[in-house]
Symmetry: C2
Subunit: 249 residues, 2 copies
């Protein structure tokens, strides 16, 4: 039987806890709103909080020495940002920032470690999630080397759709270009191709996914490879994405 507050929690890790462990952590969690562009962790600096995502999604970015950021992974309600503290990390190796606006439960690192020490199931889930995130990053490494932007863009949109749960995303091509580490004009070309195919619709910072199946066909295998790993932890519906088909106007 779940804890009485647990039914309102959308985070998959928190939702999966038994009532006894949920009770241990819920009082330590602080609900926070994440604004667009808000940075949760800075590369090289101490991790002060762990964020269990409730809605929206968070990008983990590596910042190269020329200042160019590049996304290595996405975190949504299936996971948490800052979990590397349970592996013994004290400082963040990456920049994590919210790309969408959204909500999260925040917990200070000390309290987090204290809770985890007494909640073996939570600990197991977090370790397992850390592994899944690692798999996501590894697939991205291969993807960045082998697949062209058309496939990578489709993959990214699918991942973003999964984690946001809504078919319309407020994202500029400029932002997506930064995430994927390419020129905006290159994104524009790839996005135009998808738009002409009727798969997505672009309109001034708003992108609507019209045909999810079409997007899956346009994406490289990397999307499915990672999604399959997530299913192994969270079951058949690891994400919130609905199979919404919006008819073209």
């Amino acid at each position: 039987m779940p804890h009485r507050l647990q039914k309102n929690v959308r985070n998959r890790i928190l939702a999966a806890l038994a009532a006894e462990e949920f009770k241990l952590i819920i009082d330590k969690l602080q609900r926070v709103e994440l604004t667009l562009g808000e940075t949760l962790h800075r590369a090289g600096e101490p991790i002060e909080n762990v964020f269990f995502v409730e809605s929206g999604f968070i990008s983990a970015l590596t910042v190269l020495s020329d200042g160019a950021p590049l996304e290595i992974g996405l975190i949504g309600a299936e996971g948490a940002a800052g979990v590397s503290v349970i592996l013994g990390a004290t400082n963040s190796y990456s920049e994590t920032m919210c790309q969408t606006g959204g909500g999260a439960y925040r917990i200070g690192v000390l309290a987090f470690k204290e809770v985890v020490a007494h909640a073996p199931h939570l600990r197991d889930l977090l370790l397992r999630y850390a592994h899944l995130f690692h798999v996501q990053v590894a697939q991205t490494a291969a993807c960045n080397a082998h697949h062209d932007l058309g496939q990578r863009l489709a993959r990214w949109l699918l991942a973003a759709h999964d984690r946001s749960g809504v078919p319309e995303l407020s994202l500029t091509q400029d932002l997506i270009a930064v995430m994927l580490g390419v020129r905006r004009s290159t994104v524009s070309i790839a996005a135009s191709t998808l738009q002409r195919a009727g798969v997505i619709r672009y309109q001034h910072g708003h992108i609507t996914i019209l045909d999810r199946m079409g997007l899956e066909n346009a994406a490289c295998e990397c999307y499915e490879a990672v999604a399959g790993e997530y299913r192994s932890l969270f079951g058949e519906q690891p994400f919130e994405s609905a199979m919404v088909i919006v008819p073209a106007p």
Copy 2:
């Protein structure tokens, strides 16, 4: 005081253990020789053994659906292959294979988990190593997207040098091309540039690092970024690489 057998162990994780924990694991370890090209784990299949590397190095590879393998990380005597089992993984997401010939201590997964459950320091070290490997993979993801082959080749040679400990490596350009996910002819061009600069010498499957500093200058920041993380766990000398300068003939 270390265990009496511990002084012969080159693996950094095993060597760092207190005698009591070392005693728990040493009887379960089987010394094995790794032959060139030997596969330790196959993508998608159960992880049956964990390998604590003693000499040589191991590549972790993602295999894309077109059959093209692509290296995501290197494992040497500073780490172990198969550590993701402590994160709860049962199957390997990557292919791990020995590129050099070398030695390792092998332990079955069940025995490994049993030992880890009773050796908190070992567990902490392994978790920390899993994190370091994650950082390495994340940096590779960014590197694959942003840096040209000249820089990536230099970075790879440095990492291989670190982990092998000897300035001469038995590696064909063909093999390196597979690791880096590019054509062999592209490797040949980049390697020729390094050779003309007097940084390395190539001769029929044998590559000699002549000028380590020169190689570091030719490499992208990604080498140093990862090496710095490793130093945070293992101290100032995380690898066995000597600063050998072999004069040109």
